[in-house]
């Protein structure tokens, strides 16, 4: 009898605990795509995730800034490293290259997930359209980064759904470009205008148009050479220059070249000039990790701990040839005011900091100087973490792209094209700024200074110039102009007071805005070829260190000759172009190494093994 009861009990327990639901569990701390992308906040977070990959160390927050050879003939990697993409000693296993590949595709994947799921979100339709447009644009932009670096690549316009879905063949670059243009064109109709957005951190119609111009130029040039795209490039650039009436907004150049970058360093926007910036934020203290190494990789080197300065590796050191693109190569001050901002004319050492000017013979030692961490406002400054945004598209680039495309389309320079270049040049020569200012103060001699004297600037017909002195070894080594002032007609009187020393010979240098010749000469605009040549140099002068040079050279078919030219410069110089000093001779390595294989980056062997479609490897690896 008892047996019966027990068996009944066992059956009962069995049926209770084997209820099927028990094995159905749901994640507790994450969502699945099925129940995500439902609210505006979720969709916006997904969008932030898409942008995020661009701003990681493998991309624009660190490696691409001076450490992946993107500055080509403008600058070399300031390290004796012998291996890696920074010095064109690229092996297929290069980690920086693999990371760049991976992060680009992660961005694409996030965009695909967003695009495939966001339709069901309940949210404001205008915002929804904008986000869809941005996701489309970014997916295309990631593809653009990839296709311009690797050539034929897997085109991923659908999210991978299965773990077995690993085979993705290389799509011909032309097809990839067409998809990029298609996506971006669609995005142009969806995103907001620059005015509506009000800052440069999100993709506006102007950003889409400007980047489309760039994409078209790349497609029109080497290696695809679809020259029909020049007309499209011209069209898109023109759309930025002459926006639709409903945009209610006209892009313009900032009158001051320098101010474009000081604004970036100060976390200020200039939406008229700086159309799209990659956003970095904070100083790495507090939970977020949204900082970059803008200024820390590509600013003037500083390895002390002065709290008023930010740590900088100064990875980018310029070539003599780049220096000589600007006029007055033998003078400390160039009429082209871009030079003394793009290239820091001083070095920075010690704690507290001392700035020491370079002599005119020290060229290859100089660092890029567009982004200077001393201007950062997010304090205290951290070693590797800063808030300075990085420019992805500036209006001057659009003007130069227009000129280039227009010249191609028409076969010779038109007045519109010449005017576009001249606009860039006039700004560069300070033509849009009021009269003359104090650009630089040189010093020599002097002794017995124990502390920095106070600098006062008087006379010269102008006002507003201020400066600061640095003392080292008893000498005033540098007087740094803090504000240039305006209205100077003759060099002002600069006096030093205090500091315990004397005997310093001081020479203030004024700008030459009234007398300098900014506009292109007749010979420069004589024909297609001379105008093209001017544009090529102008792009370097205007857009140096903005990660554009290598691909510009490639699309012009000039990468190898230009690199080899610089190699010769290092040892022999070339005319006014000086050769490298013994301390910087190591920089020749990049130019020695650069070869035909560097037109494209390699695929990582792991990647090729896992994705059979990736074969063949790019040539030379």
């Amino acid at each position: 009898m008892k047996l019966k009861y027990f068996l009944a009990l066992i059956v009962l327990i069995l049926s209770l605990s084997s209820c099927k639901d028990m094995l159905e569990t749901t994640p507790l701390d994450s969502l699945s795509p099925k129940n995500f992308y439902e609210t505006e906040a979720q969709v916006k977070s997904a969008l932030a995730g898409v942008y995020d990959r661009l701003a990681r160390p493998q991309m624009f927050s660190d490696q691409m800034l001076g450490r992946m050879g993107l500055d080509a003939d403008e600058a070399y990697y300031a390290s004796s490293t012998k291996i890696g993409v920074a010095v064109y000693a690229v092996s297929a296993t290069d980690n920086n290259i693999a990371g760049n590949w991976q992060y680009s595709y992660e961005g694409i994947n996030r965009a695909n997930f967003l695009l495939e799921n966001m339709d069901r979100a309940e949210m404001d339709q205008r915002e929804k359209d904008a986000i869809k447009g941005e996701a489309l644009f970014l997916r295309a932009f990631y593809h653009f980064l990839l296709v311009s670096k690797w050539g034929d690549i897997p085109l991923m316009i659908k999210a991978v759904k299965s773990a077995d879905d690993v085979n993705a063949p290389r799509t011909p670059a032309k097809v990839v470009y067409e998809q990029i243009i298609k996506d971006m064109t669609e995005a142009e109709g969806l995103v907001r205008t620059a005015k509506q957005i009000g800052h440069s951190g999100r993709i506006s119609k102007s950003a889409v148009r400007g980047i489309l111009a760039r994409v078209c130029l790349y497609m029109a040039g080497e290696p695809i050479k679809d020259e029909s795209k020049y007309a499209e490039a011209r069209k898109w650039a023109l759309k930025v220059m002459n926006p639709d009436p409903e945009d209610g907004f006209q892009h313009e150049l900032n009158p001051s070249f320098e101010d474009v970058f000081t604004k970036m360093a100060r976390d200020e926007y200039d939406i008229k000039e700086s159309i799209w910036e990659l956003e970095f934020w904070g100083n790495g203290q507090g939970g977020y990790n949204e900082t970059g190494r803008v200024g820390s990789n590509n600013g003037p080197k500083y390895t002390g701990t002065d709290p008023d300065y930010g740590y900088s590796y100064g990875w980018i050191q310029i070539t003599g040839r780049y220096w000589c693109l600007y006029p007055n190569s033998k003078s400390l001050l160039s009429e082209d005011e871009r030079r003394e901002w793009s290239v820091a004319p001083y070095k920075t050492t010690g704690t507290p900091v001392v700035e020491t000017p370079y002599t005119i013979s020290q060229i290859y030692e100089r660092n890029s100087g567009k982004w200077r961490r001393e201007l950062e406002v997010s304090l205290p400054r951290s070693k590797n973490s800063g808030p300075i945004n990085f420019p992805m598209l500036r209006y001057s680039d659009v003007l130069l792209m227009f000129a280039e495309a227009d010249n191609r389309v028409n076969g010779s320079p038109t007045s519109e094209a010449i005017e576009a270049v001249n606009q860039v040049r006039r700004r560069a020569y300070g033509k849009n700024l009021p009269a003359e200012s104090v650009k630089m103060i040189t010093v020599s001699g002097g002794s017995k200074y124990t502390s920095a004297p106070v600098v006062s600037i008087t006379g010269g017909g102008g006002t507003g110039a201020t400066a600061k002195a640095f003392v080292s070894g008893g000498k005033v080594v540098r007087i740094k102009v803090l504000t240039e002032g305006s209205g100077y007609t003759t060099p002002p009187v600069v006096t030093l007071s205090g500091g315990g020393g004397s005997g310093t010979v001081i020479t203030p240098l004024l700008s030459k805005r009234r007398t300098s010749q900014a506009d292109l000469t007749a010979s420069q605009t004589a024909d297609f070829a001379s105008f093209q040549g001017v544009i090529e140099d102008e792009r370097s002068r205007e857009l140096s260190f903005e990660c554009l040079r290598k691909n510009d050279l490639i699309r012009w078919g000039k990468f190898l000759p230009n690199m080899k030219r610089v190699l010769d410069d290092f040892t022999d110089g070339d005319g006014e172009i000086p050769k490298a000093s013994s301390g910087t001779a190591y920089g020749a390595l990049s130019y020695e190494n650069a070869s035909i294989k560097d037109l494209l980056w390699p695929f990582a062997p792991d990647e090729m093994a896992l994705n059979p479609g990736l074969k063949p490897q790019n040539p030379g690896y």
Binding site: A46, G49, K82, A98, W101, R202, Y288, D606, E607
Partner: protein, 1146 residues
Amino acid sequence: MNFYTMFLCTRSHRIVLKKKLLIMKLTTVLLMATFLQVSASGYAQITLLKKNVSLEEVFKEIKAQTKYHILYSPQALEKAHLVNISVQNGSVEEVLKQSFQNQPLTYAIQNLTIVVREKRQPGNTFLQAVPVRGKVVDDQGAPLVGVTVKVKGTNVGTTTNVSGDFSINAPDNSILVFTYLGFSDQEISATTIFLTVVLKEKITDLEQVVVIGYGTVVKPDLTGSVGMVDIKDMENAPVASFEQALAGRVAGVQVFSEEGQPGREGMNIVIRGSGSLTQSNAPLYVVDGFPIEDFDAGTLNTDDIESINVLKDASATAIYGARGANGVIIVETKKGQIGTPVVSYNGSVGFQQILKRMEVMSPYEFVRYQVDLGNGASYLSGGRTVEDYRNVEGVNWQDQLFRTGKTNIHNIALRGGSPSTRYSISASMYDGEGVIISTGNNRYQGRFSLDHNFNKKLQVGTNINYSSQTGFGRRASTGAASHTTLLLYATLAYRPVTGRIDYSQDDLVDDIIDDDINTLQDYRTNPIISTQNEYNKSISDNLIANGFLKYEIIKGLTFKTTAGINSNSGLSEYFYNSKTSRGTPALPTNGRGQWGGRTNSKRIALSNENTLTYKKKINSHSFDILGGFSVQESRTQSNGFIATQVPNESLGVNGLGEGLPFTNSTRASVFTLQSYLTRANYNFNSKYLFTATLRADGSSKFSKENRWGYFPSAALAWRMNKEPFMKSLDFVSDSKLRLSYGLTGNNRVSDFATLPLIGYNIYHSYSFGNELPTSGALIESLGNADLKWETTKQIDLGYDLGLFRNKVELTLDVYRKTTEDLLLNASMPTHTGFTRVYKNIGSVQNQGLEVTLNTVNIHKKDFSWETNFNISFNRNKILGLTKGEDNFFSAVAWDNNYANTNLYIAKVGQPVGQMYGYVWDGVYQLEDFDEQRAGVYTLKNTVTTNNTSRTSTVRPGDIKYKDLNGDLVINELDQTNIGSGLPLHIGGISNRFTYKGLGLGVFFQWSYGNDVFNANRMTFEGSATANRNQFASYVNRWTPENPSNEYFRAEGAGPGGLYSSRTVEDGSFLRLKTISLDYSIPKNLIRGVKVNNIRLHASAQNLLVWSDYSGYDPEVSSKHSTLTPSFDYSSYPQARTIVFGVKASL
């Protein structure tokens, strides 16, 4: 139910005491003349101050004052004379001793009964048959039916009835023999009165009961491969957790710790090789019948452990199906024994020291090196020379960091029981100070178990274990991303002397930072100050509570249900104040100010198992059938935060709330498992044995379609020695051939690996318009809905041989274990947007040989010597990886510069854990170069260059690598396998000697053929970083005058960021793991003391190591995973422990 109630005998015959009886009584707990009241009050003290009283009077007093009963015949007392007693608050024995002085009587105390007899008169051999009654029970208190009871040397005999009772006429002074099949024989003096005889199941060496999955089996009937740990041999090892003493004890079981950090040793147990590459290889633990995944062995007190068995082959493990693939460790804890309550105490104090110190450069050698590096200026200022440093003593940082640690262990237990109720209560305390200052661990633990038989059929029981473990102090091998933030680095790198003119070391010793180091690349801080100030503590509170109910439905058919909970709460907290390496403002990388964090975690696992067992024996056929089902659920959750810029650092971790919030996190997960299991055992005469099992597991980790896995196994065993042809070989006591095959499973992937998951992570955010960043959503995982069970197929052929009545026991096992559908966290091509996804891809094979030899070399009355030896060989081979993937590379995160350099390779066709890199080829010598002009060398065109330029970069004295492809340039194509983290064989040998009360155990353990990657040497042999001290070995570096081919010149390290065979070292070792000496104080010396037994012991753990390894200890794996074994950088050194203790029971 009161069959055991005390019977007072009124037997009127003379009672003769046999001397032997006393000995028997003292030496066995099996015999009980009467039942013993479960009460400690029996030990109550007694006061008796009387003169000229009769014994009868004395007895009355004893009965009145204590719970003792006294048995005597009135006739005997007639012969007694009057006595004087003077006992104040004394023991009963004291009273009795005085009472029986010069009496013609003697007495014996048995539990709570005093038996009084006449002294045996010489020549009085008169025997008289008298009736003796009694009851025979087993050790569970169940009556045994049909036990043969005989008077020794006669034919007089009877058997017990259904109640286990018997009655027999036995002559006085005779011996009763109790025999019963399957039970040990008992011989008991026919002392008068009523006997309760407890027969124990036979536990000869050969016939011991082995606990296996869901049941027990006698050893000869075992069909699977089960490794048994000799607990006796292990129990003297002074360790906090039994795992630490397990290495080398069982063939096929590899046990090692990752480093010596107390409480954070990182114990790994790998049974028969690693079957899984990316997932856990930890075995399943079953404690008192409850399967526990992720078991922390430290929650158990070694003293509470009764037995440890390791299930190795599929026949043994398949009953655990889903979780059996990595082997199963079955732990049974001590239960109460029927008998008087026994209180036992085991306490020890111990001392810990490191086994050796690294030799670093003396001040003289250090300064000479700095000069060679071009960094001599500050040391040689003021006209000093290197010679001036000859006699400078310098700071010995290791002396300041290392100390003699102390351990205090106290264990106390109370165990006892009646035939119906058995109980065990124990508590323990472990308190350990590590060999590095401010580090240590402790544990407080308690355990309770109760078993109760309601009646013959119904039995219930419970086990409750609670432990609280704390590990504290700076972690030696973890820090920030640079290798220069770690503790042992700082200790060895800190220079012994500065260049200050007065040689003053004060600032070096008292400052948190060395003012002369380059704090942009070198983040070392004063190791002593930083270690003293760093707060780092983790507390783990664990509760295991479970209960069972067993009911015998009909004879042979038993139902058992169990329910259990395992709850673990973890708290880890840390705080870095301004005097620590990660909180000092002196380092520019420390951007967080003074900061810290706290993490809470909780894991609750619930389980319920229900089984039906049916046992039947028909003539020579024995059946044993088991069926059951079980459900498990495991929930985890954790939360934590980090706060930075904490304003009041004196508040430490409690002041974190005042700081800035940095990160916060919460995690939670759940997983459930449902299983059906069945097993059938059949044996014919214990000669032919057959076992088959089948288990089906359903796991919530897999999608509906793939949820259920089925794991069958079968085993055959043949006891050849029972065959007629072997009967004549009477020296063969056992000869058994075993063969088994079966499948086991593994579901150790993350709980929701089948689903794509979207999460937020602060590191994936983006700031729009300079606003506070918008949290970014990321696709955390692709999810793989096709995931299914990983399956391990294992075949095992075993042979057991016992010779000379099992004085020699040999066990051989060969096996091949193939893991298929490997649950691999597989690489994905990254164009998919994912780097890893769980896939059932790949296959790993382990095959090997295990030999165990146990011998009783000498077994004399006073002296014995036993030896246990085991050796195991395992060969691991990867049979397949993800499609298209031949190599699976792994990097080790120890330094940023090597973050992307792979050191380990898992290659198809090779074992896992192979080290990969360049082959070191000595040092470039002068003859490798053409001398262009004095001091300017160009490498000859026929000599391979380790760098791109032959002219400027490579110099005589530089490190040289082997050019494997002959292109005269060293590049990534010249990399190959440079070492293996897997041993060729491991084993242990234990010898135990006893001489009278003296016992000596000596246990050696070894590992042979494995390599260790000694990354310390990359930092301390030829580092060009200024002011960094080096190993003394580097004094012998290359110079033109000393053309060493071993140590390259100062600054001759060659290209950075690569690994070479130069720092791969033989990690083989032989370790004198445990040596213990104990001494039982003879009983006659402690008769007056109220204890049964006192043993003094001294033991040493890890006393000596023989090894060629140059680091602190070859047993190290500071970045351990299956893919990255045996990497040593800044590991906490293993300690030697010597303890002195006492064990007592009363």
